[in-house]
């Protein structure tokens, strides 16, 4: 029996691709990336491709073990206690990956669109649809993601096209290759940023052997958008400025010379991207919720709702304790993805080993 019923693979690919795009473009730790003059438009797409490796390993292990989703793989590989610990670790990774784009969007909204409003009021508007999606389930999230994919793609294309008059190739200097070691290190560390999305996409029950196809297609769907967006950002701003700009994709239209009708529609773009962030976050949180509820034996909707609440609270806490949370965030950015990598890799290897033993 297919589950989630009638969700469709196209919806899953679109939703995972959207989540990858938001992780790739909106969650960049600008200070580190641009201060070291890393060519993000090369490093981050490479990081995405690199992050497919553990997912392919997990997919292979699932195929060998006959597991239809990540939960089954974990139960196949681990004992009940380890299974719970691994689910908890994956949920923490999902929380981090979900909160990042949401926090970026909320921050930009607070600074540039609703400057007089309280941050918590903005987050209240974010929480309602996030909670609804989390409670409704995976089929609902993927269907909504599929509907929103086309407007999101159009909005990114519109943002890139309207900024064309402001592009300057001179801003790409120094060219890639000058800081090759920094770039390689950034690529390696950033590859983990995509891992929560790709690994948690394995939570969707599919026929064994099809998980890898879904992950690869989603990555290929997101790749051109990520590359073009990051390239456009670099063409619009010098690297020295980018370190201090939050969500440069949104703001790069501002460098376009002269006023215009399209320029005034920038707020629609941020709203669409907020919608995309919410869908991405809901996807991650619901997947994590399903894993946790399997381990705990509680209702999936309730677990996903609690994760959504924790996610919003953590975004709120980050805004209030900026100094401390910035440090935590930078650590999480480097090591946080290990939360997803370690349990998945361990489960995959254990499954492959068990199979061979058998």
């Amino acid at each position: 029996m297919k589950y989630p019923p009638n969700s469709g693979r196209a919806g899953l690919i679109a939703s995972v691709g959207t989540a990858l795009f938001f992780c790739g473009v909106f969650s960049i730790e600008g200070t580190r990336a641009y201060a070291q003059n890393v060519p993000t438009y090369i490093a981050i797409p490479l990081a995405l491709l690199l992050s497919l490796a553990p997912v392919l390993l997990a997919a292979r292990a699932m195929k060998r073990a006959g597991a239809r989703n990540l939960g089954q793989l974990m139960r196949f590989s681990f004992s009940r206690v380890f299974c719970f610990a691994a689910s908890l670790s994956l949920a923490a990774g999902a929380l981090f990956a979900a909160a990042n784009p949401l926090a970026d969007c909320a921050r930009v909204l607070h600074k540039l669109v609703y400057d007089g409003a309280a941050y918590r009021s903005i987050l209240a508007f974010v929480f309602v649809p996030l909670a609804v999606l989390c409670v409704k389930g995976l089929a609902c999230i993927t269907r909504t993601g599929l509907i929103m994919a086309a407007p999101l793609a159009a909005s990114v294309a519109a943002a890139l096209l309207t900024a064309v008059p402001g592009y300057d190739t001179a801003r790409l200097f120094p060219l890639p290759g000058c800081e090759i070691i920094d770039a390689a290190s950034f690529t390696a560390s950033y590859s983990f940023a995509f891992l929560p999305v790709l690994i948690l996409s394995l939570v969707f029950p599919q026929n064994p052997g099809t998980h890898s196809k879904t992950a690869v297609k989603a990555a290929l769907f997101a790749l051109p958008f990520i590359t073009l967006s990051l390239l456009a950002v670099r063409l619009s701003y010098p690297a020295a400025m980018l370190g201090g700009i939050s969500m440069p994709l949104y703001r790069m239209g501002l460098v376009r010379p002269g006023p215009g009708f399209l320029l005034r529609l920038d707020k629609l773009l941020i709203m669409l991207w907020l919608a995309g962030s919410i869908i991405s976050a809901a996807l991650l949180l619901r997947c994590a919720g399903e894993l946790l509820s399997d381990a705990l034996g509680v209702r999936k909707g309730l677990t996903a709702f609690m994760l959504a609440l924790i996610c919003i609270m953590s975004v709120l806490a980050e805004a209030h304790g900026a100094e401390r949370t910035a440090v935590i965030r930078s650590y999480l950015f480097i090591y946080g993805a290990l939360l997803t990598l370690v349990p998945t890799a361990a489960a995959s290897l254990a499954a492959l080993f068990k199979r061979r033993m058998a």
Binding site: G8, R143, T144, M271, L274, I278, I279
Partner: protein
């Protein structure tokens, strides 16, 4: 192969139950032709005619009910028969001419078989062994003929009640295409569909409903096109329906899908036989209910509700253009008031200086906040619409004109409303009328109000929030296993975009079942 065997069983069962001049045995215990309900359990027919007369009289409240008719007749051979019917429901003139007089003149022995084969001159006749079923048939307009010493009776299809003639569709009018519409009589409605689909694979079966009013219902579907699991699920759902509800298209939908607070319709109610036939050929099921002038079509998607028969009657380019305009109208209807309110209240930067100054100038002297003004006008618009529908035809049109033009102008002059907001509400109302389905129009009106309130509370952020919640809600609806937003989401293989009309290729029976929305 199994499907054809099943079809053969269904069809052969119908032929047998139709009676007529075929072999009379075995005697059925309840009604045929999908018309009569099963009554309240089997009860044998008393052999003595006096007992039949007494029990039938009690059941039909004779003689207190002046319409109940129990008439004994004696043939030349001296044997007696009892005719039972209800005056007003049965055609008594035909009963006299073709049943009672031939019996009076007949010298044959009065047995059900002999009378059916050699005496009476009625086309629709069948034998019935269940006394309750016979009385049910009488209550529905048939006449029953009982015989001394017989354990079965004859049910004569001599319905003669007044009914509305097949008229012109009023709620789904089109310039091109057929004009006829369903009536309140289920037999006429089935006949109208049969005229459109003269196929051996058209299945008309009695719906397993049992309700207090004794309302009859039939399921109509195409054997090859409809999904058997959907038909079976519908049968199960109909069996579970509570009996103490008066059955119509609207109540059937609520009972099939539960009393949810969602305003979106889950079934398509159509009064057009051509539209029902088109849906049946594309794999959907029509539920026809006696007394209800609409066919209940299910399962459906949101896009079925946005289609109009004219899309198919026009050529492809024009049909697609009409659809695009309709979708634009629907989007304008739902989103424009909220979007305008967001811009005016929170995001004035999006508006150009000229537009902004026009809005400000038009709102000078208007006392209420712009959100309240917009809500007030939307509610007044709904009031005008509701009033226009409740009063008789020509006065209703006058109310629309008076409400729309004179009241609007007066409200602007009295500074109760600004002209810009009035234009926004009017444009949104026009967009709403582009939606072909009445119940979807109403749903769009309520969703529009939700968007206005969200925009008032949080501007574009509030609207984004409401939009995601609405999409999530729509995405989670399913109508008998078919996702409400299919084939857009989830994508269906071989499905055409619902926004544009696809080519009419022919040979398409059974292809749909949710894959294509190029039905009327």
């Amino acid at each position: 192969m199994d499907r054809f065997q099943a079809l053969f069983r269904i069809l052969s069962g119908k032929i047998k139950s139709a009676g007529g001049t075929g072999a009379p045995d075995p005697v059925p215990r309840s009604g045929g032709m999908g018309c009569d309900s099963e009554g309240s359990g089997f009860r044998p027919i008393p052999k003595k005619l006096s007992s039949v007369e007494r029990e039938a009289g009690e059941a039909l409240n004779f003689p207190r009910d002046p319409d109940a008719v129990l008439r004994r007749v004696k043939s030349r051979s001296g044997e007696e028969a009892l005719a039972v019917c209800i005056s007003g429901l049965t055609d008594e003139a035909r009963l006299d001419e073709f049943v009672l007089q031939p019996i009076l003149r007949s010298g044959l022995p009065l047995t059900p078989v002999a009378v059916m084969q050699g005496v009476i001159e009625v086309g629709e006749v069948r034998r019935e062994a269940d006394f309750n079923a016979a009385l049910d048939a009488v209550r529905r307009g048939s006449a029953a003929l009982f015989f001394q010493g017989a354990d079965s009776c004859l049910i004569l299809g001599l319905h003669g009640f007044e009914r509305r003639q097949v008229g012109e569709a009023k709620n789904e009018q089109t310039v091109l295409g057929p004009k006829e519409c369903f009536t309140e009589c289920i037999k006429t409605d089935v006949a109208l569909i049969r005229r459109h689909i003269a196929s051996a694979e058209l299945v008309v079966e009695q719906a397993p409903v049992s309700n207090i009013s004794g309302t009859r219902a039939v399921l109509v579907y195409h054997f090859s096109a409809a999904k058997p699991e959907v038909v079976e699920k519908l049968r199960e759902k109909l069996k579970e329906m509570p009996s103490a509800v008066y059955l119509t298209g609207g109540t059937a939908e609520q009972m099939l899908f539960g009393n949810t607070l969602s305003p979106m319709p889950r079934v398509l109610l159509t009064e057009r036989p051509d539209r029902a036939a088109s849906h049946i050929l594309s794999g959907r099921i029509a539920l026809l209910i006696d007394g209800s002038p609409e066919a209940v079509i299910l399962p459906i998607t949101l896009f079925s509700l946005m289609n109009s028969p004219e899309d198919v009657y026009m050529n492809r380019a024009v049909g697609s253009l009409l659809r695009v305009i309709r979708y634009l109208g629907a989007l304008l209807s739902v989103l424009m008031p909220g979007y305008f309110l967001s811009l005016a209240l929170y995001h004035q930067g999006i508006l150009s200086t000229e537009v902004l100054s026009t809005v400000v100038a038009s709102r000078r002297m208007v006392f209420e906040p712009i959100g309240a003004e917009l809500l007030l006008l939307l509610i007044i618009f709904q009031l005008i619409r509701e009033a226009g529908q409740r009063v008789p035809g020509s006065i209703g049109q006058a109310i629309g004109i008076i409400g729309g033009l004179i009241m609007g102008q007066a409200a602007v002059s009295a500074h109760l409303a600004s002209s810009v907001v009035l234009i926004i509400v009017a444009a949104s109302g026009l967009g709403n009328f582009c939606i072909p389905d009445y119940r979807t129009q109403l749903a769009a009106s309520y969703i529009r109000l939700a968007f206005v309130i969200s925009a008032w509370l949080g501007g574009l952020l509030g609207m984004t929030s409401a939009l995601i919640v609405m999409l999530a809600r729509l995405a989670s609806i399913e109508s008998f296993g078919m996702p409400y937003l299919a084939p857009l989401s989830p994508k269906r293989r071989a499905a055409r975009p619902a926004l544009f009309r696809g080519p009419i290729t022919g040979g398409a029976i059974g292809r749909a079942s949710g894959k294509s929305e190029d039905v009327m």
